[in-house]
């Protein structure tokens, strides 16, 4: 590509320097903002090929440029009205009964949006209109 600069270090005039691998390794490799209600749809994204609506509050995000291994990290936030009047709510990587991620491969991650149990009933999954996901790690 035109305009390429090759440098190992960025140096500020007074505030010190930083190795460029901090920038490369520390940048998000994928992100998406999507609506998980109705017919789910992405509002904006980077390095996402598609979203899968698996069930209520259960979504898979797939990547275009694959991650280098499956040890990457997912950060996620979700916002919705507290329809069940209880908490806490959390959007996280979906796990099976043994605590192992259901899908956390170099090309896809499966997420669940969960609400907490109350004294009298179990927690469960819920759809949310604002779901934000960021992925950090190494690309293939």
């Amino acid at each position: 590509m035109a305009g390429k600069i090759i440098a190992d270090t960025l140096e500020h005039s007074t505030a010190g320097s930083i190795a460029t691998n901090y920038v490369v390794d520390g940048s998000a490799k994928s992100w998406v903002n999507f609506n998980g209600t109705g017919t789910i749809a992405s509002r904006d994204s980077l390095n996402v090929s598609g979203l899968v609506d698996n069930a209520v509050g259960d979504y898979t995000c797939t990547y275009t440029s694959s991650m280098g291994n499956s040890d990457y990290v997912n950060s996620s936030v979700a916002m919705c009205e507290d329809a069940n009047a209880r908490g806490p709510f959390a959007l996280g990587v979906r796990i099976d009964g043994t605590g192992v991620p259901t899908t956390h491969t170099t090309t896809a991650t499966r997420y669940e949006y969960l609400y907490g149990a109350s004294a009298s009933s179990d927690g469960g999954t819920q759809d949310a209109p604002h779901l934000y996901i960021i992925v950090h790690g190494d690309l293939a």
């Binding site: 998406v32 109705g38 017919t39 275009t64 694959s66 291994n69």
Partner: protein, 154 residues
């Protein structure tokens, strides 16, 4: 806009170029599929920025590249990808139509055991439809299945 010559450029850099230069394309197509008898029907939604890349051409690698990487990842001793260069150095796909892009996405993101045998068995395991054909509310979402009575176009 003309796509730069991208063969040999890291795929992530191509996606960043597309993000800066192409408008996202919201497709009306959806792919409904069933990959487990224990789970309800799933719905694959193409990403608008990805669809823009597919329609533009010269950005996305051929889908077989993902199959090769998936084979590597399926090995029991897999630690990390050592053939990531396939994503970056293989000649990119030319511009696709929206329908061709959906076929590509199916072969990339839907499990192979579904799309390779989608019409074998008692009923179809996968259907491409328009989003207007899906239920308009999510009532009983966890019980959605592909209809047993579905009539397929020839």
């Amino acid at each position: 806009m003309q796509t730069p010559e991208f063969q040999g450029t890291h795929l992530f850099d191509r996606l960043c170029w597309a993000k800066e230069n192409l408008d996202g394309v919201q497709s009306d197509y959806r792919v409904v599929y069933e990959d487990s008898i224990d789970e309800c029907a799933k719905i694959l939604v193409p990403d608008p920025n990805w669809m823009a890349c597919a329609l533009q051409g010269g950005i996305l690698p051929p889908v077989w590249v993902y199959w090769e990487l998936a084979k590597d990842e399926a090995q029991p001793d897999f630690k990390k990808h050592t053939r990531g260069y396939l994503l970056h150095e293989t000649e990119p796909m030319p511009a696709m139509t929206e329908e061709e892009a959906i076929e590509y996405l199916i072969q990339k993101d839907v499990p192979q055991h579904v799309w390779k045998t989608w019409n074998e068995g008692n009923k179809p395991k996968m259907v491409i439809c328009k989003k207007e054909q899906l239920p308009q509310t999510r009532e009983w979402r966890n019980a959605w299945r592909i209809s047993d009575d579905l009539e397929l176009a020839a």
